[in-house]
Amino acid sequence: MDVLVLLFAIPLAGGAFLWAWGERDSAPEVNCLFSFATLCVAAWLTAMVVEDGPILGFYEQFFVDPLNVFLVALTAFVGFTTSLFSRPYMRTERDKGRMTAPRLRLYHSMYQVFMFTMLLALTTNNMGILWVAMEAATLATVLLVSVYRTAAALEAAWKYFILCGVGIAQALFGTILLYFAAERVLGREGNALLWTHLDLVKGQLQPAILSLAFVFLLVGYGTKVGLVPLHNWLPDAHAEGPTPISAVLSGLLLNVALYSVIRCKVLTDGALGSRFAGNMMMGFGLLSVVVAAFFLSRQRDIKRMFAYSSIEHMGLMTFAFGMGGPIANFAGLLHMTVHSLVKSAIFFAVGHAAQKAGTQVMEDIRGLLKVNPRIGWGLMLGTLAILGMPPFGVFASEFLILTTAMREQPWATPVLLTALGVAFAAIFRRVQPMVFGETTAKRLPHPPALIPVFAHLGIVLLLGVYVPPYLADWYRAAARLIGGQ
């Protein structure tokens, strides 16, 4: 209970403090400090949930179970490492004149507010507050995407705002329908939107209403997950915003949106007793994987390319959760973890590489290994990891998803394999000359933060070789909560 207070208070206080602290030189360090404090509290919370089981707090308004606590831990961890990365990155941007002091102040303050909204979305028990937090997450990031104030950045942010705003409005309609169904069973006492209560009575919810509600919720939150055909905002926002924001968007926000969809799916499955929700998710997921894979090879901007790779991987997870069942859910959760670690690590490396080359156009980035071997190896290993090469964790989760698909949905396997193959060819062909090859680039003014890159890749490597038993139990418990089949 006290832990929950701290979990929200720290990032919120961080946002306010960094706004007040303003344009001082130490703001990046303060940002790291707050992120580290959040990480400590998240670790404490995780330990509590692992020891004593699910926690309910504040008149049941907050709920932490194995499913969301693992995402809380992941969010806090990547939030902290990204703040470490953003320290030298933003300083370099400032030296280059792309960032000014007032904009840096906005950046640091909003970074903490963004962390707060994600933690709120993850731990709230109220489906209405979940919506509010998701919308707030959009609002917190829209000014971050446009922070460079270039024509392209403004366009990307406008698109992000309007598309996600419209999308998430659909989710609100879905939430209203959900409440409409729930108050017939639970009454109008204010707990009819509480997930724990809904979960208990999900078998009595009116199927016709719930199926329509799920369509709206999937379209709404699916826009934020970046599912095709609702993905248009995603590559632009990733490419035009500052790289630390690309890292947290890809690594964290998409996960949180997918988490919302999963919560809704559990309720819909219970009410309908059919595979309706799962089938819809499989359809959207498969479409995303295929479309993103084919768009990958046409990209010239490195951040855009990895944004499409995020769409592909989110599609794969959506497909896995759509299949349902203990193994697919386990694989989906594992993939969520490794994808967010690897993808943020890649964005860290890409950020430094692009700063070094002075461009995001892939043809102009060459010979990273020559100028800075560590950035080069970080990018290369990250790329190999995201492409599903053993022994990294992505291989393990993709392998599990594919083998389950072979058993449960054989028709989908060739499609998935083809898409993964196309993605491999597209990305590897581009990254290889960037890492090797000749260059004339100069050193960066601030030493790049490469510890986060290798820390993330190390964890993913570990998860690929050996998942510790307590972690496996935890994933299994979360997978059981999602159910399906």
């Binding site: 209405g128 507050i129 446009s146 698109k159 419209v166 409440y179 035009e240």
Partner: protein, 219 residues
Amino acid sequence: MSPLGIQLVNLFAATLLLIAFAMLSQRRIVALINLFALQGLALAASTATVAWVTGQQHLYYSAGITFALKVVALPYILHRLIRRLNVKWDIETLLNIPTLMLVGIALVIFAFNLAIPISEFSRSMARGTLGIALACVLLSFLMMITRSKAVPQVIGFLAMENGLFFAATSATYGMPMVVELGIALDVLVGMVILGVFLFQIREQFDSLDIRHLETLKED
């Protein structure tokens, strides 16, 4: 439940839908903002009526919030914004209003069809209201698609939220208070951010035409 109350709610619902159509075809930005304020007023009135008919105390508060936010605050911010942006007397060229109206009617029919199976479960007062709410959402969506200026797009976005709010009050007698407050806060913050954003766009492009914002594409 008093028949008068039900009739009143139906009347306000019809007003909302009519205003949605009026906004769809309105070309002047000032008039558009006034229509938006009027829609907010109809929404607040219908919420208050539902509160009176059902005796739900918290709906009075929510009617109050709606009034403060959508009749007073947002139109005020919008008026100020267009004055400072110097787009007060802008007229937008809308192609083919009759076709737009016909598409709108098709959307209304679609919305009613979608809402029929759900309205059957409705023990609340007015059965058509959920369909009307969905129709308002879709019409605002259509408005956003057809506009090429930033401010009308924003108004379309806010009008969409009106439709959603109407769905919440008429079908379910309002969401829990904490959720409503959260939504209101989001809308307000969103509006402020949009305002900041409009200035940034104008500074960059010297215009508020969204057609400038169509360069990021897959080739």
